[in-house]
């Protein structure tokens, strides 16, 4: 007997291999107490190495992982997404250092889990099979469950972790059920095979299975991107989680789910467009409306940012309907900009919370403009960008997004999106008003001493990136366009 061995192309999954190895190295080194201070810097170094590996593979075209089944593929789309995740993780590590030290959660496991989460997201981005997608999703989710509850002594952190765990497990169940139905319809878990089944003649029964499968997948992915009506966990979890983890959760995990959504809806389910376009358009509008309107009355900053992130997920859902390269490129562009903006916003809170009492409400920001001019400037840039005011990256991102939508013929949706974007001005600018125009009632605990250098570096980097992309967007747009070009 001679078994034919599959040809395995390890080069195609090199970024994922490097990320998993990096996380494991951090985990092992973190066991030794004397290296405790060095762990974050080791993590930064290893993340940089994996970034270099991914950059080197850019433009080498789609390379499948093995000749037997596709499972995973190395293409520009997955690589660009991986680079965004790595950049997000680097910023998260930078803003974590002082925050984690102040709360004595600066253990090796914290940084190891962060990198494991990135490897899971990278797996999701490269997956061309429902199994590898689910595997990546679980690697990401399990790391996040632990990270959210990392402040063991804090009741809010535990509450957030439990809520995210219970609902996340539920969402995973929905995704698995959907996968089972899709397998039943097409006899395979590969994206290509499912797309083939959709493309050919199909009976009513198969059609029903495919529709059910797609619907259940959308429930699960909708939970991850906090799409209304699966958004209820978002404010509670963001509020309870350690602030850098909330930053990572709101950018990385959401971006990973969006990347999968682009791949799935764009290259697997175009055949069901008649069914999913009305569904997604209603849900996207609802998501934008709920996120923006509820954010108006928030006074807790983390809850405000949570509702704002719900609203942004709604904007990013819109171009899926345009079903064009422009549409997908505008989502990728938006995701990159959104990662920088949200990490900046949560980063300011994390840096302020690193000494003394946590910075949680709008009142805590009062007088920040005179107390911490640089930090307040960063926060102002980020808020302007989130609101979409030129010359920030947020404006360019919204511009491309809505123009792709208009080109796709969805003018009404673009108008609705823009109107709610106007509503959002109120709560973003309110943060700026509190920082610059309200004096502090009493001198807060964070006023004394200097802020963490690493955190400030990360914040200045993201603010500069936001301004730079706002003025010169074409480079990044070209990258986003190149990324979606490799999608079938």
């Amino acid at each position: 007997m001679n078994t034919a061995l599959p040809v395995i192309n390890l080069y195609a999954v090199m970024p994922q291999i490097v990320l998993v190895s990096a996380a494991t190295v951090v985990l092992i080194v973190g066991l030794f107490e004397r290296f405790r201070k060095g762990i974050p810097y080791l993590s930064l170094l290893l993340l940089a190495v994996s970034g270099v590996v991914a950059v080197n593979q850019l433009g080498l075209g789609p390379v499948p992982f093995s000749d037997v089944s596709s499972m995973m593929v190395m293409d520009d789309f997955g690589l660009v997404a991986t680079l965004v995740f790595i950049a997000g993780a680097v910023l998260t590590v930078l803003i974590s250092i002082s925050y984690a030290e102040a709360r004595s959660i600066d253990r090796g496991e914290y940084y190891a889990l962060l990198i494991y989460a990135v490897s899971g997201m990278s797996m999701m981005a490269a997956s061309t099979d429902l199994f590898t997608f689910f595997l990546g999703l679980e690697v990401l989710s399990i790391s996040l469950y632990v990270l959210i509850g990392f402040e063991q002594r804090d009741a809010g952190s535990n509450e957030g972790a439990l809520k995210y765990f219970l609902l996340g497990a539920f969402a995973s169940g929905f995704i698995l059920y959907g996968m089972a139905l899709l397998y039943g319809a097409s006899g395979s878990t590969e994206y290509e095979a499912i797309a083939r089944t959709l493309g050919g003649e199909r009976s009513d029964a198969v059609n029903l299975l495919l529709l059910g499968g797609l619907g259940l997948l959308l429930v699960g992915i909708g939970f991850k991107i906090s799409m209304v009506p699966f958004h209820a966990w978002t404010p509670d979890v963001y509020q309870g989680a350690p602030t850098p983890v909330a930053a990572f959760l709101s950018t990385g995990s959401k971006a990973a789910a969006f990347v999968v959504l682009i791949r799935l809806l764009g290259s697997v389910f175009p055949g069901l467009q008649m069914e999913w376009i009305p569904l997604i358009s209603v849900l996207a509008v609802l998501t934008i409306a709920v996120g923006n309107v509820v954010a108006l009355v928030q006074t807790n900053l983390k809850r405000l940012l949570a509702y704002s992130s719900i609203a942004h997920a709604g904007y990013m859902l819109l171009p899926l309907m345009a079903d064009s390269q422009d549409g997908s490129a505008s989502i990728v562009f938006y995701l990159i900009v959104y990662t920088a903006m949200n990490l900046g916003a949560f980063g300011v809170l994390a840096v302020l919370s690193a000494r003394g009492a946590p910075c949680a409400t709008l009142e805590d920001l009062a007088g920040l403009g005179s107390r911490r001019p640089l930090l307040a400037a960063v926060m102002a840039v980020v808020m302007f960008s989130l609101a979409g005011i030129p010359p920030t990256a947020g404006f360019m991102a919204k511009f491309y997004l809505f123009s792709a939508l208009v080109h796709g013929g969805y003018v009404e949706l673009a108008v609705i999106g823009l109107l709610f974007s106007g509503v959002s001005l109120y709560y973003y600018l309110r943060v700026v008003v509190w920082m610059y125009m309200r004096p502090a009632a009493e001198t807060p605990a964070e006023a004394a001493g200097r802020l963490s250098y690493t955190g400030m570096t990360a914040l200045c980097l993201s603010a500069l990136a936001i301004l730079a992309v706002g003025v010169f967007p074409s480079e990044l747009l070209q990258l986003a366009e190149r990324a979606v070009m490799t999608l079938p």
């Binding site: 007997m1 001679n2 078994t3 061995l5 494991t24 985990l27 092992i28 066991l31």
Partner: protein, 116 residues
């Protein structure tokens, strides 16, 4: 239609089971005593209720057991076809073992194997 015998069998089994239980509860003689009514634990006298908290350490041991249990499950089919897999099989299992050993080292150093 080819499943008809199976369905008949299931129905028959259900009927027989129901009849036997019903008959024995009507016809059978009942002599109760304290030890007869107690729940059966392999003949060992019952100490107290099973519904109580266990130390979290037991759960930790259970999880660690899984780590080494799953490895054995993978090893058997692998060993059967090892001759065909050659170097590829050795390398694949080597990576798998490396990750397991790292997990083992981690739990050892973290003190998960100490009872106190």
């Amino acid at each position: 239609m080819s499943y008809l015998p199976l369905i008949l069998l299931v129905i028959l089994v259900l009927i027989v089971a129901a009849v036997i239980v019903t008959l024995s509860s009507y016809i059978g003689r009942k002599k109760t005593s304290a030890s007869k009514l107690a729940s059966y634990e392999c003949g060992v006298p019952i100490k107290d209720s099973a519904r109580k908290n266990f130390s979290v350490k037991f759960y930790l041991i259970a999880i660690l057991f899984i780590l080494f249990d799953v490895e054995i499950i993978y090893l058997y089919p692998w060993a059967v076809v090892y001759g065909d897999l050659q170097l590829y099989g050795a390398a694949a299992m080597g990576v798998f073992f490396l990750l397991l050993v790292i997990g083992f080292l981690y739990e050892w150093k973290r003190g998960a194997l100490e009872w106190d």
